[in-house]
Amino acid sequence: MSAHASHAPKRSGLWDWLTTVDHKKIAILYLVAGGIFFLAGGIEALLIRLQLMYPESNVIGAKTFNEMITMHGTTMIFLAAMPIIFALMNAVVPLQIGARDVAFPFVNALGFWLFFFGGVLINTSWFLGGAPDAGWTSYPTLALNQYSGIGVDFYVLGLQIAGLGTLIGGINFLVTIINMRAPGMTFMRMPLFTWTSFVTSGLILFAFPAITVGLVLLMFDRLFGGNFFNPDAGGNIIIFEHLFWIFGHPEVYILILPCFGIISEVVSTFSKKRLFGYSSMVFATALIGFLGFMVWAHHMFTTGLGPVANTLFGLATMLIAVPTGIKIFNWLFTMWGGQIRFNVPNLWAVGFIPTFTIGGMTGVMLSVPSADYQYHDSYFVVAHFHYVIVGGVVFGLFAGLYYWWPKMFGKMLNETLGKWNFWTFFIGFHLTFFPLHFLGLMGMPRRVYTFLHGQGLDLGNFISTIGSFGMTIGTILFLINVVVTANSKQKAPADPWDGRTLEWAIPSPPPEYNFAQTPLVRGLDALWVEKMAGNKGYVPAEPLGSIHMPSPSIIPFVMSVGLFIAAYGFMFHQYVLAGIGLAITFGSMLARSLKDDHGYHIDPEEIEEKGVKA
C-alpha cells in the first residue's frame, strides 16, 4: 500500500502545467489554447474577407479559399468557442457550488489534452498536404477520397480525438454538479451559470456520440474501403447529414446556453438586482436543451425529405423561440428598476441582448421550410449564424471573461481598454455581418471564392470586409488589455463587483483548495443571502480539518500524445505507427489503473488567510 505524501509535491513551471489536475489551472490552459486557436480562426476569417473585398479578386485562390472556410468554421466552433466555454466552466462552476474540485480531476486534465492534441493535429494539415476543404460540415461525397485530399483525414481524426475530450468533460461536470454541491445548495438554489453548464453537459453527453459515429463512418469509407456513403455500392449520403446534424444542432445550443448563463449572472450583478423569474429561466434552459434535439433536420429542408418531415421540424424549430424569448424578457425585467452600472462586462451583456435577438429573429425566418428554399446556402444563413454565434457566444464569452478575470488571475482587466475593445468589436461586428443579410437576399451563394462585377454585390462585400478590420482591431485591443493587465501590479479583491454568488466569497485567485471549509448554503444567490444577513462571508458547514487533494499526473498528456501518434499512423496507412500510438494510450490507462493514487493532504496549520501556495 503506498503511503501518501502529506504535503503538496512541489512542482513549478512547465512540468506543473503539464501535470496539473487542478480545475483552476486547467481553466487557464483551456483559455490560452482556445485563445490561440481563436486568433488562428480570426486570421482565416480575415483572409476570407480580403478575398471577397472586391469582385473577381485573386488574393487567395479558390482551393485555398475552400481550406480557409473549412478551417475557419471548424477552428472557431471546436477549437476556440468550446474550449473557452470549458475554461469558464472549469474556473467557475466548482466555486459556485462550494466544491473543492470537479468529480474527476484526472479526467478533467485528460479532456484538455485530448482537445489540445486534436486541435494541433487538424492544424498540422496545413503543412502536410493541405488543410481540409470540404466545409466544416464535411459532407460526403465531396469529403470522400475521390473528391478531396488528405486534409479531410486530419479533420476526421482530429475531431474524433478532440470530441472524446469534450465528451468526458461533459460527464465530469454532470457528476460534479449532481454529487458535489455544498450542503444546502439544492438544484433550485444553483446559480444560472451552473444550471446552464449542467444542461449543456447533458447536451454534450447525448450529442457527441452521434458525430463520433458520423466521423467513424466517414473514416471507414476513406481509409478502409467502406461503402456507407458510396451510392454505387448501396450507400446513402443523407445518413451522414442526419448524423452530423443530430449532433450539429444540439452543438449550437451547447455553445449558447453557457453564454445565456453568463448573461444572467452579469445582468443581475450589474443591476444590483436578483435575476427576474429564476424558475422560468431554469425551465426555459431545460426546454431549450430538450427541444434542441428535435430540430436537426431544419438544416436539411432542401434535401428532399418531403413536406411531412419539413413541417414537423419547422414547427419544432419555431417552438424553441418561445423559451428563448422568455429568457430575453427576464433579462430585461431584471434590469428594469435596477441600479445599472455599465462596467465592461455589462457592456458586453447589454450588447448581446439586441444582437442575439436579431440572430434569433432571422432564425425564425429560416425555420419556415418554404422560405428556406430561398435562403438555404445563401449569405442570409451566414448572417444568421454569425449573429447568434458571434453576437451571442463571443459577446457572452467576452462578458464572462471580463467578469471572472479577477477571480481567475487576481487582477482586473483595464476598464478603459475594455471599453475601446467593446466598441470597436461591436461596431466592426455589425458592419461585417449586417450587410450579409442583404447579400443573401440578393442571391449571393455561400462558399464561393469570388463574385462577378455588376451583380450588385460589390458594396455589401466591401463594407463587410471593412467591418472585419474593425473586429480585428477590437481583438488586438483585447490582447493589449491582457498584456497590460498581466504587467500591472494591482491585486484584485475577493469581491470586486459586489457579487451575489459563492465564487466571490473566496480570495482572487482562490487558494488551491478553494474553500477552507465547505460552505453552508442558505438560499438562492448564496452570498447575497449572507450579505443581507450582515455576515462578512459564507457560513461554514464543517470545522477546519485536513483537506484531501488529488495528485498531479503526466498520464493525461501521455495518453493524448499516444492518440495523436496513432492518428498519423492511420491516416498515412502506417499501421505499425498506429499500433505504437494505441499501445502508448492503452498502456497509460493500464498504468493509471494499477497504481493507486491517494492524493495528498493539506493540514489546517497550512491554511492561512492567504491560502497555501500551490
Binding site: 460527464i171 457528476v175 454529487n179 457527441f208 456520440p209 459515429v213 463512418l217 471507414f220 461503402n227 446513402n236
Partner: protein, 208 residues
C-alpha cells in the same frame, strides 16, 4: 493478510461507501447513456442500409441460427455470472468474486471466438466491410460491439489480477461494480443486435 483485514472493516455496499465510488458509478451510468446514443446511431445506420447488398450475399443467405443462438446464450450467461460476482462483492467474499468474474471472462472469450469464426466464414463468402453498404454497416455495428466485448475482457482480467494483490477495498470495489455494469450493458446491446440484425435479417423483410 491485508485482504482479510480489509474485509473485516469493509462497509456494506463498499462500492458506494466513498464519494469517489459514488462519483464513478454515476459517471459510468451517464457514460452508458451516451453509449446508448452511440450504438443507437450505428443501429439507425444499419437499419437504413440493411438491404443494400450490392449483388453480394444478403442477410438471408449469410446468417445461421445455431451460431447466433449459441453466441446469445453464452453472452447472456456471462452477464448472469457477473451478477453473481457482484453478489459475492456484497457478501465481501473476494474468492467468490474472483471466481465468478473469471467465468465471466472465459464465457466472453468463447463469445469472441465464435464471432471471429463467424466473420471469417462470411469473408470467405464475399461479405466484407468493403463489399457493400450492408457489409460496411454490419461489420461496423457488430464489430464495435465485439470490440467492446474485447475491451471488457481485458478490463475485467486486469481487475482480477489487481485484486490478487490489493484485495477488496473501498477503492477496488467500485472498479468491479462499474465493470459489471459495463458487461451488462454490452449484453443489453447484444439483445438488440441479435433481434435487429440477425433475426430480422432472417425474416428477410424490411422494417415496418
Amino acid at each position: 493478510m491485508a485482504t482479510h483485514h480489509a474485509n473485516a472493516v469493509l462497509p456494506d455496499e463498499p462500492e458506494k461507501a466513498t464519494l469517489e465510488g459514488k462519483n464513478k458509478i454515476l459517471g459510468f451510468w451517464l457514460f452508458l447513456g451516451g453509449e446508448t446514443v452511440l450504438f443507437g446511431s450505428l443501429f439507425a445506420t444499419f437499419i437504413a442500409l440493411r438491404d443494400q447488398a450490392n449483388g453480394g450475399p444478403t442477410a438471408q443467405e449469410l446468417f445461421d441460427m445455431p451460431i447466433v443462438a449459441w453466441s446469445t446464450f453464452i453472452l447472456l450467461t456471462s452477464s448472469m455470472t457477473s451478477v453473481m460476482a457482484v453478489l459475492a462483492l456484497h457478501k465481501k467474499n473476494l474468492k467468490q468474486l474472483q471466481a465468478w468474474m473469471t467465468v465471466t471472462v472465459l464465457l466472453g472469450l468463447a463469445f469472441l471466438c465464435l464471432e471471429i469464426y463467424e466473420f471469417n466464414h462470411y469473408v470467405h463468402l464475399g461479405h466484407t466491410i468493403a463489399s457493400s453498404a450492408f457489409g460496411s454497416a454490419f461489420y461496423t455495428l457488430v464489430g464495435f460491439h465485439g470490440g467492446h466485448v474485447a475491451f471488457g475482457i481485458a478490463w475485467i482480467t486486469t481487475l482480477i489480477l489487481q485484486s490478487l494483490k490489493k484485495g477488496l477495498t473501498v477503492v477496488t470495489a467500485p472498479k468491479f461494480y462499474v465493470a459489471a455494469l459495463y458487461w451488462h450493458f454490452i449484453d443489453v446491446v447484444w439483445v438488440f443486435i441479435f433481434t435487429v440484425v440477425y433475426l430480422m435479417g432472417m425474416i428477410g423483410g424490411k422494417v415496418g
